[in-house]
Amino acid sequence: MEQGLLQLWASTGLANFTPGQVVMIAAGALLIYLAIAKGFEPLLLIPIGFGGVLANIPVADIAGPDGLLGILYHSGIESGVFPLLIFMGVGAMTDFGPLLARPSLIILGAAAQFGIFFTLFGAVAMNLIPGMEFSLADAAAIAIIGGADGPTAIYVASRLAPDLLGAIAVAAYSYMALVPIIQPPIMKLLTTEKERQTKMTQLRHVGKLERILFPLTLLLLTILLLPTATPLVGMLCFGNLLKECGVVDRLSNTAKNELINIVTIFLGLAVGSKLAADKFLTTETIGILLLGMVAFSIGTAAGVIMGKIMYRVTGGAVNPLIGAAGVSAVPMAARVANKVGLDANAHNFLLMHAMGPNVAGVIGSAVAAGVLLAIVG
């Protein structure tokens, strides 16, 4: 009996906790709190936070190779399958109409990717700080946070720096949730009141054939120039083709509803498995959180500055605020641009105009990911 009691006690959490696990369970709970109470990207951060709690339970080894989270991680993230399926679902949800209606604004989605590559630079420079040690692959995986696109960040991190994946995913989704707080000051700092008041002309109608041809031409372009980006871009285009072609609605509906929901649950839990204390509680994580913030800020600034250039070039036809939407963080960043625009002029509705750069930013980040995978991978 005594032996049994000892055995039972020896198998309690109380007897087996490491301090790191306690901290990480609290961190998981914090993510859940932020998701529920503050609306921080709850679709992802609730599963990730809960997965982080489960991963740090002593004895149970749920994130180990035979535990549920470990199995999900191995079969869905290590393989790259989950982020690609999410991207298919995103494609099936995305309306590229605004982008097609005014393609010149795509350039704003290009400029905002500057945040990625500047951060790469910064991550490498961090090696000068004692205690930080980032390889080029690590730095590239961290930099992609600046893409403000969850599945892209997870896909790249799973390929280049799986040990950092937990911190990278948490940073990416947290900062996406913080976009309404991070972006406005930068946007206001870099623009004049007059620029922010700029109204934009209504978008032209985009026909069905143009919408069908878009995913195909985008994929073709990516194939020709940057095939390493084609898994991501390809699945995005596949989902979008299912949506736009109009003859397989049952497939596109499943892709953007049940399938993406299932994969989101699994992906979140699996990412959570990388919040295990021994991998997460390192000085590197602090570096990642700092760099992620820098990446978002630089990306926003680059987008706005490009917006100012377009404002000049077009003689005031483009509101520079929509440049900030180029970081992606769909559709939050577009809403922020709209909000800041409304603050300057209560009759200035920028939402649809910002959607073009916003979805262009998704493509831009996927292209940037392709470059990183090609050169560093």
């Binding site: 795509i106 290009a110 490498v124 000068l128 878009f214 940057l226 292209v367 392709g370």
Partner: protein
């Protein structure tokens, strides 16, 4: 790699990466513009909201509505 090499590498990546992003997205602008010129203009009809005929809801709707209207009718004594 030591820190110097890493910095050099990432400088290269900065150039290559932003280069690739701009080249591809500018080409995309070109292609979209070209396609929009080539494709015959469509009228923005958007038609009547085409209902998905595979959904079984409609008949239910109508049944429920008929019941509601019937009840309403009765309640008005007509």
């Amino acid at each position: 790699m030591n820190i110097d090499q890493l910095l050099k590498e990432s400088f290269h990546l900065l150039g290559l990466g932003m280069g690739a992003v701009f080249i591809i997205l500018i080409l995309l602008i070109g292609i979209i513009t070209l396609v929009s010129k080539l494709v015959p203009e469509e009228l923005p009809v958007e038609a009547a909201p085409t209902r998905n005929s595979s959904t079984p809801v409609d008949n239910q709707h109508i049944a429920v509505i008929q019941a509601a209207v019937h009840k309403f009718r009765k309640s008005r004594g007509s």
